[in-house]
Amino acid sequence: MIPPQRRRRPAGPEEDPPPEPCGKNPQRLYVLTGAADHGERAELDLVTLIVARADPPAAAQPEQAAVLRLCANPLSVAELSAYLNLPYSVVTVLLTELLTAGLVQARAPIVRQALPDRSLLEAVMHGLQRL
């Protein structure tokens, strides 16, 4: 039997518009946060410092492995968010999982205002000694 020779109808201009270009990455953010239950985030601030305590395990997500690699030296949450190009809320979810697994350690930032100025303390000390 002779195979059919041509396609059905000549394709009209309205048929099959070219595919729509879209973003560069097919994955959506909720896939990253999905494993964790929503609404449970560790108390992390933008300036909380994160330090890795272990090498990334083999089964880690690429993002978590990246966090652990980046955090070999202390790094703030804001910096992590910027380097990973992920929103803060996603980073906190990732970090919450890592904290739960004990792979990273969070350290609250030292607030300058909470500590009195050293020169002031010295001056007070001198003044008291003069009394």
């Binding site: 059919p4 560069k24 909720y30 896939v31 690429p62 990246a66 190009n85 020169s119």
Partner: protein, 529 residues
């Protein structure tokens, strides 16, 4: 040819021989009678006998002639009957050929896209005997082909409209997905808003997959196009992000392969449908395991669930559905409660030369294996490994694509980090510039002009006043220009009113020009945590 004629010897029998016997018998009888009767009657008997003989001969001759005519007629009749039977048989055969060979092939050709006229014109290619088809059959064939063609055109139009509608839905969904992504970036600092956005995003992705499925079943091309190669890991995550229960999917060792940008969408869609099947037909507390290994012909993506498995009947049905879809099934075949998944996978596999098989899993469930041909993979480096790390790709401009809703770019109110008061990053060292003799810090007055200069100025002014000269103070202050009666922008008073109601009156609300990018309370979002 069947011989229905009489044997020729009987036919060749001449009349003389046939007539001889009765003539002789009659003649003998007449002779005998004439001999037997008395003398005076002999002449009469002889005459009678002669007449009778003649009559008998004539009768016999007539009978023989009629008999022969009858025989000829009968032979002729048999010949005609045989001829007609042959004709009928030939007609039957012709009809059978028309029904069994010509019509199906002609209809097939029309269904494959040839126009009815062309098919009629080239009937000889189907069967050499088609050229001498009778008029009536030709016209019958033509009518049937016309009807088939019309129905095909109708079905095509229906499918195109399906695809068209699906495209519109897709365009809106893509637009929405893009906007949601922007919003997710904007509100990334506010976990409550962010989580809600993610849920909307998920729902949108589900709608998008349904629209994609309709489009695929209608024969449309994939709606999305990734400009750059994408790693298989991201592709599978993209597939995860389009199903309802993505939390149950676990990606294990995924081969480090990059997928060509044009092939990303079909793989995502096929994998999403298989993942959806896997999660749907397995207990909700079980996980679905996904691995991807490189094989000879490409990459094999294995999806294993821990469900009840396929009984042979269900497996036969599933494979039949795949088979039918691979052979170009119809949207109409899906039935009343369509299970789109396998049909979509079958379609995609046919179009993109992927292979899919359903087997029993070691976990007791189903193991679906999707083999992606190596033609769909690429050696080019992908722009990113995981989400957004190092991503620099920009969407490719592709003119003529169906556009989503046109909206003016939203004036973003990013909940950018506003540093709260107790967390100042600046060095807030108190300004200590002077020390008392005792070593205690001396606060300076905030006025920057030195005291000596201020005293000198004061004395100069006093002297000038005494001498009657105009001073800085006596000079009439220029009356401020009456401000043009500036109508506050509509709506601002509402805001002020609402601010007043909320109990934190914002004194700047009325005077603040509208160039301010965001209202004050917009920044509150970021400080919830």
């Amino acid at each position: 040819m069947v011989s229905v004629q009489s044997p020729p010897d009987r036919r060749e029998l001449p009349y003389a021989r046939v007539l001889l016997l009765p003539a002789l018998v009659m003649a003998a009888a007449t002779g005998a009678a004439a001999a037997l009767v008395a003398e005076p009657a002999r002449a009469a008997v002889g005459w009678c006998g002669a007449v009778a003989t003649l009559l008998v001969v004539a009768t016999t001759a007539e009978a023989v002639r009629r008999g022969r005519a009858l025989r000829d007629l009968r032979a002729e009749h048999r010949r005609r009957t045989a001829y007609l039977e042959r004709r009928i048989a030939a007609h039957d055969e012709e009809m059978e050929r028309l029904a069994d060979e010509i019509m199906p092939h002609a209809v097939y050709r029309v269904q494959c896209g040839n126009s009815p006229g062309e098919v009629m014109h080239r009937l000889g290619e189907i069967h050499p005997s088609c050229d001498e088809l009778p008029e009536a059959q030709l016209s019958l064939l033509g009518t049937v082909l016309d009807i088939v063609d019309r129905e095909e055109a109708k079905r095509d139009a229906a499918q195109r409209s399906f695809v068209n509608i699906a495209r519109r839905v897709q365009a809106i969904v893509h637009q929405q997905a893009n906007e949601l992504q922007e919003m997710e970036e904007d509100h990334g600092r506010n976990p409550e808003v962010f989580d809600d956005l993610l849920r909307i995003d998920h729902g949108t992705a589900l709608i998008g997959r349904l629209a994609d499925s309709i489009s695929v079943l209608g024969g449309g091309r994939p709606s999305r196009n990734w400009p750059e190669p994408v790693p298989l890991f991201s592709v599978l995550r993209g597939a995860m992000s389009r199903i309802l229960e993505y939390r149950r999917i676990e990606l294990h060792s995924i081969a480090q392969v990059n997928i060509d940008g044009n092939s990303v969408e079909p793989i995502i869609h096929a994998a999403a449908e298989l993942l959806d099947n896997a999660t749907r037909y397995s207990p909700p507390q079980t996980k679905v395991h996904v691995t991807a290994v490189e094989v000879q012909t490409g990459v094999a993506i294995e999806i294993e669930d821990a469900g009840a498995g396929l009984i042979p009947e269900a497996r036969a049905r599933a494979e039949g559905m795949l088979e039918r879809a691979m052979n170009g099934g119809d949207v109409g075949d899906l039935g009343e409660s369509p299970r789109l998944g396998l049909a979509v996978v079958g379609r995609l596999c046919t179009t993109y030369k992927m292979q899919v098989s359903l087997r029993a899993s070691a976990y007791g469930g189903v193991r679906a294996v999707l083999v992606v041909p190596s033609a769909m993979t690429t050696d080019e480096p992908a722009s990113s490994f995981a989400h957004g790390i190092g991503a620099t790709a920009s969407p490719r401009a592709d003119l003529g694509a169906l556009e989503g809703p046109k909206r003016t770019p939203k004036k973003r109110r990013p909940t950018s980090p506003r540093i709260t008061a107790p967390l100042s990053l600046e060095d807030d060292v108190r300004e200590v510039t002077e020390w008392t003799a005792g070593g205690l810090p001396q606060r300076r007055s905030r006025v920057k002009v030195p005291l000596s200069q201020r005293i000198a100025e004061q004395t100069a002014i006093e002297r000038a006043e005494r001498e009657g000269r105009p001073t800085v103070w006596s000079a009439p202050r220029p009356e401020p220009e009456p401000e043009p009666d500036k109508e506050p922008e509509p709506g601002l008073w509402v805001e002020a009113f609402m601010n007043g109601l909320k109990g934190n009156p914002d004194p700047a609300a009325l005077t603040q020009p509208t160039t301010e990018p965001a209202r004050v309370e917009a920044d509150d979002e970021g400080d919830l945590k």
